[in-house]
């Protein structure tokens, strides 16, 4: 019984983290049809920016509670700086090209950002662990969990809800949905598709950076943090169905629980539990769980 609860809680907290990290990836694919490998780099930038911002917040004698605000601002800053550079300055020259080609473009971006990050922040580790203690601890039986992990669950719900609401309940969102459905039709209806792309990509970067910023307190921010999250978040959005928000949520839950189960029951399987799930889902639902297959034209 206790074990089951533990597995569920661990699965849920990990899933929440996965969702926050991956939701931006699926949004960007939905709108721009780009599977963005550089997503991991934006995650890393978010982590580094959070480290710097929280550092400054401390020097400015902000109350510790405000470090959360600093982390948010860090994510915003990353999006504000990187979106124009990458989307306007690079990606838009490749729109309409083969989607696999675009994957390679983002792979190049990933390589470049790897070294750029290193040039800006150096190789020494950054620690932002103060916010990690903000929410106290929670004791259940033999277990103790850090409140921050549950804060992440809440954050995941907020992020997911906000994205869903933004897409389905706002005018801009409805326009975006039109673009997701078909950029051609949307533009023929007078939608400024290029603006929607810019906006969606900015939000995608913001969400990636947000993931990095809120992960920073529990890790040591240093070179190499980007690589780890790329394939994992790929798996999540592929399982859920590329471009589907609810899919990303379900995918995150499946992966989170699968991993939690593996770690508690069969640790040796942890290494590839995620990829097994991914391969199996793809074999039975080629387009992922939340994607209807498009009909062929005649």
């Amino acid at each position: 019984m206790n074990a089951v609860v533990t597995i569920l809680i661990d699965g849920l907290t990990y899933a929440s983290w996965l969702f926050i990290v991956a939701v931006g990836l699926t949004l960007v694919f939905g709108v721009l049809k780009i599977l963005n490998i550089a997503h991991g780099s934006f995650y890393a930038l978010g982590a580094y920016a959070a480290a710097s911002f929280v550092g400054w917040a401390a020097t400015l004698k902000w109350a510790p509670g405000f470090s959360i605000v600093a982390m948010l601002l860090a994510a915003v800053a990353v999006a504000a700086v990187m979106a124009p550079l990458t989307e306007r300055g690079l990606l838009r020259f490749f729109y309409g090209r083969d989607e696999v080609l675009l994957v390679l473009v983002t792979y190049a971006m990933f390589l470049i950002l790897e070294d750029v990050t290193k040039l800006v922040w150096g190789t020494n580790p950054y620690f932002v662990s103060e916010p990690y203690g903000l929410f106290g601890n929670l004791h259940v039986g033999v277990q103790t969990w850090v409140g921050y992990d549950f804060a992440l669950v809440a954050l995941a719900v907020v992020v997911g809800g906000a994205v869903w609401w933004g897409l389905n309940r706002t005018r801009q969102g409805k326009i975006t949905l039109a673009v997701i459905h078909s950029a051609e039709i949307a533009s023929s209806m007078g939608v400024n598709v290029s603006r929607v792309y810019m906006a969606a990509f900015s939000i995608g970067i913001f969400l990636a950076a947000l993931g990095g910023a809120f992960t920073a307190p529990m890790i040591s921010v240093q070179p190499g943090v980007s690589v780890g999250v790329i394939v994992v978040s790929f798996a999540v959005v592929i399982i859920g169905g590329l471009g589907s928000i609810e899919g990303a949520a379900v995918g995150a839950l499946i992966v989170g629980l699968a991993r939690s189960l593996a770690v508690h029951v069969a640790p040796v399987a942890e290494l590839f539990s995620i990829y097994i799930v991914m391969a199996v889902v793809l074999m039975f639902r080629p387009e992922g769980l939340f994607q209807r297959t498009q009909a062929r034209k005649i």
Binding site: N2, A3, T6, I9, D10, G11, T13, Y14, W17, E114, D115, K118, T123, N124, P125, F127, S129, Y132, G133, N137, V142, Q143, T144, W145, V146, D149, T215, P217, M218, I219, S220, Q222, P223, G224, V225, V227, G228, V229, R259, S260, V263, H264, P267, V268, E270, L271
Partner: protein, 432 residues
């Protein structure tokens, strides 16, 4: 701009790279240095080691090192280092090593942290008959599985770390009925785990291994693993995590009280102490893969090295730079010995190999002796300590430091480390 420089470099090296390298080959000793300049091992191992190399080579070229290392450069030859990034996988390392020897015309290469990289490059140096020093990687397989002529390792292999850890627990007679394990799911983690478990079987026959966690390398998130460890209480929890993974594990496990529930022992954790500072819990038992950093022995050489590094980078040297400097000191002596034998001329790879085989020298971490693998594999003393955050010094200090002479924690010549542990450490000498 970058591209222009790049293409010029390409053109230059394609056309006349060989020539200009050969031109001033006589008065300089070209030394290839390979370590992680990017990726997950850069912060903890690669960059500190390269930083160490930079200041030491600088000191050598100025002739500023203390005797017997006070000749300028290598026996008068200016040392000209070429740095290469180890990141990118063993395939890339093999190609880059060939390029270093054939294209950059280096006289020797010192490098490699990753066990996979060491295994891959050793036979290449052997085939090319060129001199290679492995300065850091841990796997015992290299010299236990092959006979090599041109390849050396100037530091103990990883078996020492976990044997010493188990012996420390014994020496402090900590009572252990069961112990948990958390190690990365690749060779380093798997080997470290094996060595520790085997050592425990011998030293604590009653102790039973419990939870055996194998997070993947670079996982970053350990919440689930920590729950699993908490769910199965144990007297001791062993881990060979390092670098970013180790720091993340500590940051996530400490607030959950893992460190107060069980005696945590880390096999190679000294390098995270400066960074973690007060975030490192007190009372953690850890090793440094040698008598390094805060556990280094008192000596004039060590003081010189400590100041040299601390002044340059305003942080004290940890295991990686120590391992680099001890290999460079050994190389310096070997080159000068070989030159003497070669009538003062620059020695060949064969002469270098002959000179380093079975050599002994003093390093900041104590005496290094090339006694294993027919004189190609070093053994050295090591030490284990216990953490305490010193608020006055604003840094983590190590207490209850226990030193282990090399023969106590390394197998005797001609015996595989795993067999040696299984056989109950025959011939172990000078153990506390």
């Amino acid at each position: 701009m970058t591209r222009n420089r790049f293409w010029r470099a390409v053109a230059l090296s394609l056309t006349s790279g060989a020539l200009c390298a050969a031109a001033h080959a006589q008065e300089t000793f070209k030394l290839g240095i390979v370590s992680f300049l990017s990726g997950q091992a850069a912060e903890s191992f690669g960059v500190p080691a390269v930083n160490g190399a930079k200041v030491v080579i600088d000191a050598f070229n100025k002739g500023a090192a203390p005797a017997p290392y006070n000749k300028t450069g290598f026996g008068g030859m200016r040392i000209e280092p070429v740095y290469v990034d180890e990141n990118g996988g063993a395939t890339k390392q093999v190609q880059e090593l060939r390029n270093l020897y054939d294209r950059e015309k280096v006289d020797a290469v010192v490098g490699y942290v990753g066990s996979g990289d060491c295994l891959a490059v050793a036979p290449v140096a052997e085939e090319m008959k060129r001199f290679l020093i492995l300065y850091d990687c841990g796997t015992p397989r290299i010299f236990e599985d092959n006979k090599l002529q041109y390849v050396f390792r100037t530091a103990s292999h990883a078996a020492m770390d976990n044997v010493a850890l188990a012996r420390y627990l014994k020496a402090r007679n900590i009572k252990i009925e069961n112990f948990n394990l958390i190690n990365q799911d690749y060779a380093w983690g798997q080997d470290s785990k094996k060595d520790f478990v085997l050592s425990m079987e011998k030293l604590f026959p009653g102790a039973k291994p419990g939870e055996d966690q194998l997070p993947k390398f670079g996982a970053g998130q350990y919440g689930t693993e920590i729950s699993a460890l908490m769910a199965k209480p144990a007297d001791v929890t062993h881990s060979s995590l390092w670098g970013g993974d180790l720091q993340a594990f500590v940051l996530q496990a400490a607030p959950r009280g893992l460190f107060s529930r069980t005696q945590v022992v880390f096999s190679a954790a000294d390098h995270v102490l400066p960074g973690l500072g007060e975030k490192m819990p007190n009372g953690v038992i850890l090793g440094a893969r040698g008598a390094y950093g805060l556990m280094s022995p008192k000596s004039a050489l060590n003081d010189w090295w400590w100041d040299l590094y601390s002044k340059a980078y305003n942080t004290y040297p940890v295991q990686a730079p120590y391992r680099m400097v001890q290999s460079l000191l050994g190389l310096k002596l070997a080159v000068e010995k070989a030159m003497a034998a070669n009538g003062g001329k620059k020695p060949t790879s064969e002469q270098l190999a002959a000179a380093l085989t079975g050599l002994e020298w003093d390093s900041p971490a104590g005496r290094i002796r090339m006694v294993l693998g027919d004189g190609h594999q070093a053994i050295q003393d090591t030490a284990i300590g216990r953490t305490r955050y010193d608020a006055a010094k604003k840094m983590v200090v190590l207490e209850d430091i226990q030193r282990f002479p090399a023969e106590c924690v390394n197998p005797p010549p001609g015996m595989k480390s795993e067999d040696w542990i299984k056989a109950g450490f025959p011939g172990a000498k000078g153990c506390p």
